[in-house]
Amino acid sequence: MFDWFAVIGRNTVDFLARLGAEFLLFLQTVKGFYALIWRPSLVIQQLFSIGVRSMLIIIVSGFFVGMVLGLQGYNTLVDFGAEESLGVMVALSLVRELGPVVTALLFAGRAGSALTAEIGLMKATEQLSGLEMMAINPVERILAPRLLAGIISMPLLAAMFSSVGIFGGYLVGVDLLGVDTGSYWSQMQSNVDFHKDIVNGVIKSAVFGVVVTWIAIYEGYTCLPTSEGVSRSTTRTVVYSALTVLGLDFLLTAIML
């Protein structure tokens, strides 16, 4: 019977130790941001790799999500004679929720898994050890630029997603289904609040950027240096990121409302 206690106790201690180690590594990585002020090229390289290369999937997905919102929104609103509010509905759905959340999920799948695989393979091929032996801190040189680039990229990608989605909703609602173009834009303009809706959406996407990028980086840095280890870590990155984003979304929405 006491074995149960020992197992629970040991697992709890291990979990807390891992959490503590992860937090310390996070602090070290954030401390590495300072050195990047003098080496912006490192961040710019990662902005291209993480942000620019994710643009295609974000834009295409945003466009289709916007079109679906336009279609579904019109279908529902027309029963209440409120189809002129389609613009508001599409904009608020995207800016408050779908933009940050779907972008974060896509970002985790595309950029997050790539980051984990890259760092994991660097570990497996001893490149990280090589950097240490060349008196270069891998946390500052490898992790910090990627984390900063992820934090910068996410809000920008979420904004692109929402913008393209609004356009997709316009294409379906106005051009295809006949909603008045003036109503679509003017209602959006009067009812979407900059601070309550847009800024909160940006805050959400920034938080998701930190979380998703950090999970990806941490999983890569701590993976087992084998092919199976890298494979498991990339899977964990996507799963943990998705669950964390959805959980945090609820929390942030509850706080912001």
């Binding site: 091929t125 001893e126 490149q127 050890s129 090589g130 240490e132 032996m133 060349m134 008196a135 270069i136 801190n137």
Partner: protein, 272 residues
């Protein structure tokens, strides 16, 4: 460290464990300046771990590791990094940065640690590549290099900052005879011409004995023997003799522990 001490690295009473597994159980090693010291032993003995301990990537549970008279395990980060700039390391896999060309890999430590202009860095890199015979391969990527070429590029990178000591982790493993011969000759000639101190971790007997000035043989956490290659070849120790001559049986048994063969065949053997 006394004025007359000719040892660049001094290890005393080193104890290191991984979990419950005792890797080093109180070993003493001295690595003399300007010489090639080989650390040899069976696979899994902890030879690579020893290099990581010397480089400060791991910390021992007990014991002293001195580099230039200063304790490596107790150094702060800045001092440790300063010490590492005086060390080069050639990893078994080469550990080249795969997103850079050969030229950029060798220029990397120069760009990170010096303020030299690009013109001078270019000259230095070409000199290092010339020394290892790969000046024409400067624009290739690591994925385009053969194993032997990758090791030579890694060697060029290890000496980019003109260190005092270079550590080689299994440099001959997986190499064809020609690549091996090239690497053996390079290590010896560079050690002599640059005044390096070299530490080679290997279990390739012939190649290592051909160039080493001093050899340590480690097994089961202890030093089984040390001395010059001639002393190792003529050693009366059955263990060293088995290792150096590659005998299948000896103190390290060929057969894994089992009950007598006849009993096993007759199904009379009971394993507890």
């Amino acid at each position: 460290m006394s004025v007359n001490d000719n040892n660049l690295v001094r290890i005393r009473d080193l104890h290191f464990s991984r979990g419950r597994s005792k890797i080093f159980d109180g070993i003493d090693i001295e690595i003399p300046k300007g010489k090639i010291t080989a650390i040899m032993g069976p696979s899994g003995t902890g030879k690579t771990t020893l290099l990581k301990l010397i480089g400060g990537q791991l910390k021992p549970q007990k014991g002293s590791i001195q580099f230039h008279g200063e304790e490596i395990p107790t150094m702060n980060t800045k001092k440790l990094y300063d010490a590492r700039k005086k060390m080069g390391m050639l990893f078994q896999s080469g550990a080249l940065l795969t997103d850079m060309s050969v030229f950029d890999n060798i220029a990397f430590p120069l760009r990170e640690h010096t303020d030299l202009p690009e013109v001078m860095i270019r000259d230095l890199v070409l000199m290092k590549l010339q020394a290892v015979g790969l000046r024409g391969a400067r624009d290739l990527r690591p994925s385009q290099l053969s194993g032997g070429m990758a090791r030579r590029v890694a060697f060029a990178r290890a000496i980019a900052l003109d260190p005092e000591m270079v550590m080689f982790d299994e440099p001959f493993t997986g190499q064809d005879p020609i690549s091996m011969g090239v690497l053996v000759q390079l290590i010896r000639s560079m050690n002599d011409s640059l005044g390096l101190t070299s530490v080679i971790v290997s279990h390739d007997i012939q190649e290592t004995l051909a160039i080493a000035d001093k050899i340590y043989i480690i097994s089961q956490g202890k030093i089984m023997g040390h001395g010059s290659p001639e002393q190792m070849n003529q050693s009366k120790s059955p263990w060293i003799s088995q290792f150096v001559h590659g005998d299948a049986d000896g103190p390290v048994r060929f057969h894994y522990q089992a009950c007598p063969y006849k009993e096993d065949l007759m199904a009379e053997c009971h394993i507890e």
